[in-house]
């Protein structure tokens, strides 16, 4: 193999820091997967076991699309749910399809044991320089945090922009600028510049706007195509959309102990994956008197199914409406829009009643 062409499936906009990590840190080519579309899902669905969770189908589709673009080394993550088996299954399916590909599976890495990551990085590029990685990693992690911070601001304010499209076009510009960043000072300048620009966008926000929190499973909540752009749909109705779940909060800062303490009245044991965060954030949104919570997951996601009865308890204790969405491979938006519209009508009528 002359040159490593590495790829990792799409998840939100993290492809930008990933590209920098791979090209600058590991000195390999990085193939950015095409944006997730219906074709991604169709490819993934065709070759996946029927009952597997939807994120597997999306990521497999993404793998095939990047192979078509010339990738020869694929990276898959691990996790404490079915995600832990994704890598092996992906590799087997791709081999059966006849792809000659190097597959690097991070399922066996442990955050408590950094050397396990080093071993995996060595699989991607045996000649890697630890120095280079150590140099670029802080930039990559900081970039993840900045992306998350900016997107948090976008979610909370895009519904109130005076000129339609201002946030989207500036967001696109911000991402494009990030792609060119290679040093910490460049990153900080870009971030500062865009933060000011975002804060400068004219808003028409009521004193007490409707506030909705979004909780749920890792992939479906972060990859907008897979949740039918639910955050956008909500924001367009003039709602502050609050989502805690992102890579910075859940992976880089992992507040596991705090979460356990917060939710001890509702759940004693970790039910895996994102379930504890889902419960914690729902409780927090309820205590902050948000107008509603929306729970999203892929159909059949066991940890999130386990979290649902707990959410029902929180909903009745705190009188906060919760809407549940389970996404699979359907692509029609009608049913989702009906439910979202009804949710909006409901929270607005509740608010009017409270104000009487």
């Amino acid at each position: 193999m002359s040159r490593y062409k590495v790829s990792f499936p799409h998840l939100g906009n993290y492809y930008i820091p990933l590209e920098i990590l791979f090209t600058e840190g590991l000195e390999v080519d990085y193939i950015i997967p095409p944006s997730v579309t219906k074709r991604t899902l169709e490819l993934g669905t065709r070759y996946s076991p029927d009952a597997v969770c939807a994120p597997f189908k999306y990521t497999l589709g993404n793998f095939i699309e990047t192979l078509e673009l010339g990738a020869n080394t694929l990276v898959q993550a691990g996790g404490v749910c079915r995600l832990g088996y994704y890598g092996e299954l992906d590799e087997q399916i791709l081999r059966d399809l006849g792809y000659d590909v190097k597959f690097v599976n991070f399922a066996k890495t442990r955050i408590s044991k950094p050397s396990t990551f080093y071993d995996k990085f060595k699989e991607i590029n045996p000649n890697l320089s630890l120095n280079r990685i150590a140099k670029i990693l802080p930039l990559v992690l900081k970039m993840v945090e900045y992306i998350d911070e900016i997107e948090d601001y976008v979610r909370k304010n895009i519904g109130f922009e005076v000129e339609k499209g201002s946030f989207d076009s500036l967001h696109e510009e911000f991402l494009e600028s990030l792609e060119k960043v290679r040093t910490k000072p460049e990153l900080n300048n870009t971030y500062q510049k865009y933060l000011n620009l975002f804060k400068g966008i004219k808003l028409k926000k009521p004193k007490r706007p409707l506030m909705v929190g979004i909780v749920g499973e890792y992939y479906t909540i972060m990859e907008p195509f897979s949740n039918h752009y639910i955050e956008k749909e909500l924001a367009q109705k003039g709602i502050v959309v609050d989502r805690w779940m992102n890579v910075s909060n859940s992976l880089l800062h992992r507040p596991v102990k705090k979460v356990r303490e917060h939710i001890k009245n509702y759940a004693k044991y970790d039910m895996g994956a994102t379930s504890m965060y889902t419960i914690d954030k729902t409780l927090e949104f309820a205590k902050k008197k948000y107008d509603g919570v929306i729970h999203v997951k892929s159909s059949g996601c066991t940890p999130e199914i386990d979290a649902m009865p707990v959410l029902q308890n929180i909903s009745s204790d705190h009188k906060i409406p919760i809407l549940y969405f389970s996404f699979d491979t359907q692509t029609s938006d009608t049913g989702i829009q009906t439910r979202l519209e009804a949710f909006y009508d409901m929270i607005i009528m509740r608010k009017e009643k409270d104000n009487e």
Partner: protein, 320 residues
Amino acid sequence: MSKAYLGIDIGSISTKGVIIDGKNEIIAKEYLWTEGNPVYAVKRLIKLLESQIDTDKHKVVSVGTTGSARKLIGVITDASVVKNEITAHAIGTLSIYPNVRTIFEIGGQDSKIILIENGVVVDYAMNSLCAAGTGAFLSSQAHRLGVEVEDFGKIALTSKKPTQIAARCTVFAESDLVHKAQIGHKKEDIIAGLCQAVVSNYLNNVGKGKKIISPVIFQGGVSKNQGVKKAFEDTIGHEVIVDPDGHLTGALGVAIIAKKSGIERDFDFNIADIDFITKGVECSKCSNNCEIICVYKEDELIDAWGNKCDKGAIRIHVKA
């Protein structure tokens, strides 16, 4: 001349319409089959409604649409309001039963539960992914058993020992039903068992985790089935109210919402004679291949939707 308001509820199976006056009283009502052609169904509906009112006395000034074809019909009727069926049902029911706490609704393809507190919707749920236990399921099973679906309820009430039928999934229910029939269970027992299966499916899926408080109103096409009504009452342990006009609640609700909207423009009953054509066009600008629905009124494009991104947007030239 007094103002009147038209509400249309276009479901997958049936199309319902009402005209109300300024006091929310129904002055015309109609109910017919959609037969897979919502535009034609609405044209017939409008003609029938027109014949019921005195057009010299009442003038329709606002239209509201709801149901699964609400958007298309909203464009065609130039509706002031296009509303989802959950809100429409809640508003319609509250206008008749201000004290209602729970609404069960089972229609042709979907089912929902709406919980109300102090006249406001506080929670709701709709069936997801699967249409088990809806009207479509009952009609297909009626056909299999060789009885009219309209007689289902009557027959169910004659059963003394309803057959147990697996309720989790339509496919399982169907194979269970065939099996029970083949080992000699009586038809009325199987039919009563099916009604119970619909109820337990509904309560276990749509109603899961919801506190059911009376008064309970049961609506939708399936509410006309006394067998299902009785099965609900047996299971939840208190009375379930079925309004004779229950099938019109969605249309009534959306007529009230149209009235409240204050958006008024004279409605022309002659649209029943105008040609409307819809075309699905596949956008090829990216691999999403969105199907864009274009609606034409006598060859003039009046609206289009279905694109996920701006690349597929079709602009309509609005006449000044």
